[in-house]
């Protein structure tokens, strides 16, 4: 997915590919602006064109290309087989319609239900996502719901048609921590019940650690690491992944120990650095990183990385031992 702007071509998502199996969860992580959301919006075909344009590649659902489908068939998939939960429940519900009506809407569109049937189904869905007194609640308007309840309503809306794929774009970022946990629990419970696949987009590694089977790490519109959750968390093969892991605050270290953020800012997608996009911020950068773009390569079965040195076992060893908190113990300082 590229954006053609006045200032140049923004390669918002560039060469990212993954497959998703039924009942599995894929976590997509990365900083702001790394292309996570655009990836999701591309799947839903929600990126405005122009300026956006899928330049290359394909999006397939059960073997069929979504991109090649006529708009009408795409619409039949959206909200029906593929549903999406948005980031901010405060703004993603329409303020002028009753909650129940909004949840009933996908049923009316895709299942041809009568108004009454769809309403009854909406009430049942609200009950399933844990809203008490669902029948009365359905008659309320969004401004009468709290943030957590609205996100539950959004989930009910996404689930209405029993989708095969649920795309959650930072579903918990706008919620406070206790509600976050409830929402995640709810999503897991639903996944077990419905066998649907989930794409969980987040910048919070804690969330994907809990939920994801596979993790895709994105940086500057490119996939930098892909593998099972265990591989990515315990055997990271890319300095950026390591940086993300290290920048999490931890409770088991001395509270005086400094946090370990990744220094610098993500690059502008119009003026990408030459070579590896991460090299200006990478403390392991060598001259080769500045000159050539590393391809995404399978290092061990099912574990991909796009670092020049990922297959160098000595380097991986160094990566693992370079962990900020580990090294801070004897020398008594941060990085």
């Amino acid at each position: 997915m590229h954006f053609f702007t006045r200032d140049g071509v923004v390669k918002a998502v560039d060469g990212v590919s993954f497959t998703l199996e039924a009942g599995h969860t894929l976590g997509v992580v990365g900083e702001s602006g790394s292309g996570k959301s655009v990836t999701a919006l591309s799947i839903m075909r929600l990126v405005p064109e122009p300026p956006g344009k899928v330049v290359q590649g394909d999006i397939r659902f059960k073997g069929e290309s979504i991109l090649a489908m006529p708009e009408k068939d795409q619409r039949a998939l959206r909200g029906n087989r593929i549903a999406m939960i948005f980031q901010d429940p405060m703004t993603s519900l329409n303020p002028v319609h009753r909650i129940g009506k909004q949840i009933a809407e996908p049923l009316r569109i895709h299942k041809n239900m009568s108004k009454d049937d769809a309403w009854a189904a909406a009430v049942e869905l609200l009950r399933q996502v844990g809203i008490p007194q669902a029948a009365e609640r359905a008659r309320q308007y969004p401004h009468e719901f709290s943030g957590g309840m609205r996100q539950r309503a959004m989930i009910a809306m996404a689930l209405a048609c029993g989708p095969d794929i649920l795309i959650a774009d930072e579903p918990t970022t706008a919620l406070d921590v206790t509600i976050q946990a409830q929402i995640l629990e709810l999503m897991q419970e639903i996944q077990q019940r419905t066998e649907s696949a989930i794409i969980m987009i987040t910048h919070d590694l804690g969330i994907v650690a809990d939920m994801a089977d596979h993790i895709l790490v994105m940086y500057a519109g490119k996939a930098v690491e892909f593998g099972t959750a265990d591989d990515v968390f315990y055997r990271p093969l890319h300095p950026y992944t390591l940086g993300l892991l290290e920048s999490l605050p931890r409770h088991d270290v001395d509270e005086k120990g400094a946090l370990c953020p990744i220094k610098g800012l993500p690059p502008s997608l119009i003026h990408l650095p030459r070579g590896c996009a991460f090299h200006p911020r990478c403390e392991f950068a060598q001259s080769v990183c500045r000159s050539s773009v590393p391809p995404l390569a399978e290092i061990s079965p099912g574990h991909f990385s796009s670092c020049h040195f990922a297959s160098d076992s000595a380097f991986v060893e160094r990566l693992a031992s370079r962990a900020c908190y580990v090294s801070s113990a004897p020398s008594g300082g941060g990085r």
Partner: protein, 321 residues
């Protein structure tokens, strides 16, 4: 009013929350406001606005007068168009009296009766012309905002061309092309008015389009038409309601102006503008000829403007107390 008979609900909500383990306890208070729709809220605010209510009451009175005119006006006041050729000299230019509360005109017709029938013309022009401009304007605005690009440029530049000409001059020119008469006044005002509606609607769609719930509706598989009618329209319609209400006042004024210039309603049919035109010669000798139709125009237009103003305050969610 809806709130009053639901007083006991916070307690119920708290009970329910306690049953669910208190997880949702903080939401007990949300129950107090159940059933308060945005529309009911707006109506409540409108009812508190005295000026707007005065405007509304006055408009309703005029509408009732206009609708029922045939039932009482000719009998008690006299026919608005009939000229009794035998008694013209005797009846001409009488000042207000018990028989003719607003006096009579040069041809001996009752002014009050003509003002009453003039209300029909004015209201009909106001409502129909505004309806025409709203329908065209909404369509154009929606296409411009939703499809954007070339459509946006095409429609909005056309609108700019309309704005470039002096309004009355353009209206007179249009009537000159279409021909004098009542129906063509509708058409002229409708055609001249749509660019303003289109502009207002376009800009409110553009701001609403950015909302996540529009993306959510697309993600739900809703068609463009459905998104526009179900999700964008209800949110964008407030400024249109306000603007249309005020435009009715404007359309009445325009009709009066066109009739005054002889381009609108043709004699002997009564119209407030036409009556003013006929009264020009008698400003000093028979001022009642001018005062009553003038007052009718003033108060009717004022009524619509006050109502529109009140609606704007009532429909503005940001002013919510």
């Amino acid at each position: 009013m809806l709130r009053r008979n639901k007083r006991n609900e916070p307690a119920q909500a708290l009970l329910a929350a306690a049953e669910t383990g208190g997880v949702l306890a903080e939401e007990g208070e949300a129950f107090a406001g159940r059933g308060r729709t945005l529309r009911a809220d707006a109506m409540r605010r409108l009812r508190k606005n005295k000026l707007a209510m005065a405007g509304l009451v006055w408009i309703i009175i005029i509408i009732l007068i206009a609708i029922t005119a045939d039932l009482w006006a000719p009998q008690t006041l006299g026919d608005p168009t009939y000229i009794d050729t035998n008694k013209v000299a005797e009846l001409s230019l009488q000042p207000p009296s018990a028989d003719h509360p607003f006096g009579t005109d040069k041809l001996g017709r009752d002014i009050a009766s003509r003002v009453v029938y003039g209300a029909r013309v004015s209201l009909l022009v106001g409502v129909v012309a505004v309806l025409i401009m709203v329908v065209i304007g909404l369509f154009m605005g929606a296409v411009a905002a939703y499809y954007g690009g070339i459509w946006d440029s095409l429609i909005m530049r056309t609108a700019d061309v309309f704005f470039a000409f002096p309004y009355i001059l353009f209206a007179v020119a249009l009537i000159a092309v279409l021909g004098k008469g009542f129906q063509n006044v509708f058409i002229a005002i409708g055609i001249l008015g749509w660019p303003s509606i289109a502009r207002v609607f376009r800009s409110s769609i553009l701001s609403i389009k950015k909302n996540e719930y529009v993306d959510a509706a697309r993600a739900m598989g809703a068609s463009t038409l459905r998104i526009l009618s179900r999700h964008i329209m209800p949110n964008a319609i407030s400024p249109i309601i306000v603007y249309a209400t005020m435009s009715i006042g404007g359309a009445i004024l325009t009709e009066a102006a066109l009739s005054f210039l002889g381009m609108g309603v043709q004699p002997p049919d009564p119209s407030w503008g036409l009556m003013l035109s006929e009264a020009r010669a008698y400003i000093f000798t028979a001022p009642w000829l001018m005062v009553y139709p003038g007052l009718a125009i003033l108060t009717t237009v004022l009524g619509f403007v006050l109502l529109g103003d009140g609606l704007r305050d009532a429909l503005d969610v940001k002013l919510k107390e």
